[in-house]
Subunit: 117 residues, 2 copies
C-alpha cells in the first residue's frame, strides 16, 4: 500500500505540441508500483487547451474543478463541468479547452502506455 499526498506532487507544464497552458501531475503511476493504470490530474489555465489529437489508448476522465469544453471525434463541442465523467475511446480524436476565467481541472486515467504500446 502506497499513500501519496497530492499537493506534494509537482505538476510541470505539459510539453506536448499543441498543448497550451496545461499542467499535469501523476497521482498514482509506475513509480508507485502501478503497472497497468496511471491516474493523472490535469490543470488547464484560462485560455488554455490540450492538442486535438488521438492515440491508441483510452481516457477515463472525471472533472475535479471548474468547467471547460471537450471536443469529440467529430469536432463537436461539449460543455464539461464538475459532477461529470467522460470516456474517450482508443483512437478517437479529442481536445479539452478552457474558455473560462477559472482553472479547469480533471482526472485523466489511462492504461500504462509502457504496457499497452
Amino acid at each position: 500500500m502506497k499513500i501519496n499526498i497530492n499537493s506534494e506532487i509537482f505538476a510541470p507544464e505539459v510539453q506536448m505540441e499543441g498543448a497550451y497552458k496545461v499542467r499535469m501531475k501523476i497521482l498514482i503511476g509506475p513509480e508507485d508500483g502501478s503497472g497497468n493504470i496511471i491516474m493523472r490530474h490535469f490543470f488547464i489555465a484560462p485560455g488554455g487547451n490540450t492538442p486535438y489529437h488521438q492515440h491508441n489508448y483510452e481516457h477515463v476522465i472525471k472533472v475535479e474543478r471548474g468547467s471547460g469544453i471537450a471536443v469529440d471525434e467529430n469536432g463537436q463541442e461539449h460543455e464539461l463541468s464538475v459532477g461529470q465523467s467522460l470516456f474517450v475511446r482508443p483512437g478517437d480524436l479529442h481536445q479539452f479547452r478552457n474558455p473560462n476565467n477559472d482553472d479547469f481541472e480533471f482526472l485523466c486515467i489511462i492504461p500504462n502506455p509502457g504496457k499497452k504500446g
Copy 2:
C-alpha cells in the same frame, strides 16, 4: 466520447460478504465502452467498512470526501483523507473503514476484471 452525469448514476449497497454500510456507483465502465479501466465511486457511511480481503488486481484510489482508515497488507492502519491518493498492489490484503461521523468517499479505479481474470 461518452459523458455521464455522476449524480444520475445509482449507487446500490455493496452486497459483498464483509461489506457494511458501503455503497458504490460506476462512473465509467463497460457500459460506457471502457474495456480496460473501471472508475468506481465508493461511499462508506459512519461505522461502515469494506471487507479485509485481497484479489489479483490492483486498486488506484483518490479520496473524494471525508476521511477514514486504510488497513494495509500487514494489518497496519493508515489515516486517509481528502487530498490523498493510494495504490494497493494486486494480491495485497486491504480494508477501508469509516470510524468518523461523516461519509467517507473515494474513487477506486480497477482494471476490468472481465479482461484481467
